[in-house]
């Protein structure tokens, strides 16, 4: 029987499809029964998606232009 602590510890493997099918079934059974873990997993997903969008920010255009020019001069 999985404990909440296990649900948290394996949450990345669950999201990435890295659990065996048996482990995945056990995981889902726990989620069905546990509101706290459902909330945890919901928050985990939201936080990852939000942070991923923040991390996608590009380089400022002036720096990009400088790099681009120097690369083309050297090629």
């Amino acid at each position: 029987m999985l404990k909440c602590k296990d649900i948290v510890a394996r949450s990345s493997d669950y999201l990435d499809g890295e659990l065996t099918s048996w482990a995945r079934i056990n995981y889902r059974v726990h989620l069905m029964m546990c509101t706290h873990c459902r909330r945890y997993l919901r928050h985990f997903r939201i936080a990852i998606q939000a942070a991923a969008r923040v991390a996608r920010t590009g380089t400022d255009p002036v720096t990009a232009e400088q790099i681009s020019e120097s690369v083309q001069r050297n090629s």
Binding site: D6, T35, C37, V54, R56, G58, T59
Partner: protein, 205 residues
């Protein structure tokens, strides 16, 4: 920078080494390539590795066949360049603080001795990524903490959750095992969860 914009760089223009298209590519990916390089070489060398990689990328663009996506192709060029630098110096990848997890989301008192929550996760009032990004203070807080992640964790997070690369591709790029990659990724994600959770609870970074 959104995914839609990322895909907008015109491959035909890039193959023709068009200045504007190439500059746009640099603007979108320079930061990401640096993150990957920093996970392999020392921070001071990463900038140099990426500069050189841009030259290789620019020269190779006319021959880019599109068998992989352009970003996967660029990430591979940078990681090979960085690993080449390591080999030249006879060094191996060293991570100083890859173990570190930010915040206290997983502190011991979160769980009872039987392994169940002592008190469950707090309620969030911002329950979607959109809502979170509207909160500029929280957005800045996430940005700040992304920079605080250990280099290897940041690289795995970027490649997996931002660039959606498969785990085995990430392992090849960074020269790490599957279990390494999974641990690093989980730590990065928990740190970022901790940051968002703390802000939702206290209104502070």
């Amino acid at each position: 920078m959104t995914i839609e914009q990322t895909q907008a760089v015109d491959l035909a223009l890039l193959r023709a080494q068009d200045h504007g298209a190439f500059t746009q590519l640099v603007q979108q990916y320079h930061g990401q390539l640096l993150v990957v390089a920093r996970a392999i070489v020392r921070p001071a060398q990463a900038e140099e590795v990426v500069q050189e990689a841009w030259v290789s990328i620019f020269r190779a663009l006319p021959k880019f066949e599109g068998r992989s996506s352009i970003k996967t192709w660029m990430f591979t060029i940078v990681s090979n360049a960085a690993k080449g630098k390591l080999r030249k110096e006879n060094r191996e990848i060293t991570w100083d603080d890859a173990e570190r997890v930010l915040g206290d989301y997983l502190s011991e008192d979160r769980f009872k001795s039987d392994g169940h929550w002592s008190s469950g996760p707090v309620n969030w009032h911002m329950e979607s990524p959109d809502r979170i990004l509207e909160e500029s203070q929280l957005k800045q807080c996430i940005e700040k903490n992304l920079a605080l992640l250990p280099d290897a964790q940041r690289a795995v997070f970027l490649l997996r959750d931002v660039e959606q690369q498969p785990l085995d591709t990430i392992c090849n790029m960074l020269g790490i095992t599957n279990s390494n990659a999974r641990v690093l990724l989980h730590r990065a994600r928990v740190s970022l969860l901790s940051v968002v959770d703390h802000y939702q609870e206290t209104g502070q970074c």
